[in-house]
Amino acid sequence: MMFNVKLFAILAEQIGRSEVELSIATPITAATVKAALQAQFPQTAAVLADCLVAINQTFVSEEHFAPDEVSEIALIPPVSGG
């Protein structure tokens, strides 16, 4: 299924956009989101390895989501606030 995925920081810079539409396998997990970006943008592989995934503005790892549970997906490069 197609989903919009938010990109930030170095990842947004690499792809040149702050949001991309990706075909993501369901049920949705952190792994399926990352795999979808890498399939479409292989040049992100190194950065992607260190990224986290946020679904509905919460970090996720092993959780599974049905498509209708997902309102927002984001890829989170290593944070560096402070």
């Binding site: 938010k6 930030f8 920081a9 170095i10 810079e13 946020a54 503005q57 919460t58 970090f59 984001a74 989170i76 490069p77 290593p78 944070v79 560096s80 606030g81 402070g82």
Partner: protein
């Protein structure tokens, strides 16, 4: 009562400090992170901060609520946009009854902000541009 924000304008440190004061609290500890010129032999000239703003505010709120539940006032504000040397990047303030708690909780908050709140630094150094800085570990 906590106050958290992602701010596009320079931080008004004094106004943030004033919000922390209350008669039940005798110890106020603040941490302010400013843009530093040197990291070992890397010289920084300026920074850009960006954030996943809505999620960052949620994460900051969770942290503030967690510490306020122990008995404290908490303020966390992080700057986004372009910052020059000595500009304030982040303000973390804790008012508590006693100073030991205020120190401990303030340090916990900034440590945790740096680990898990979706904010990113793009650092303009004299040799090159770095995402996250030369040593993106806890410093």
């Amino acid at each position: 009562m906590h106050y958290v924000a992602i701010a596009a304008q320079p931080l008004d440190v004094n106004a943030l400090y004033e919000k922390l004061k209350a008669p039940q609290f005798g110890g106020i500890v603040t941490f302010i992170g400013t843009v530093r010129q040197w990291t070992d032999d890397v010289e920084t000239t300026s920074l850009d901060y960006t954030a996943y703003t809505e999620m960052a505010v949620k994460e900051l709120t969770k942290l503030a609520v967690e510490v306020e539940a122990k008995g404290a006032n908490v303020i966390i504000v992080h700057r986004v946009g372009h910052l020059e040397l000595t500009d304030e990047a982040v303000f973390v303030g804790v008012a508590a009854a006693h100073r030991g708690e205020a120190f401990k909780w303030c340090e916990y908050l900034i440590d945790t902000v740096k680990k898990q709140v979706p904010i990113w630094k793009k650092e303009y150094d004299t040799d090159k541009i770095r995402w996250g800085g030369p040593n993106d570990v806890q410093r």
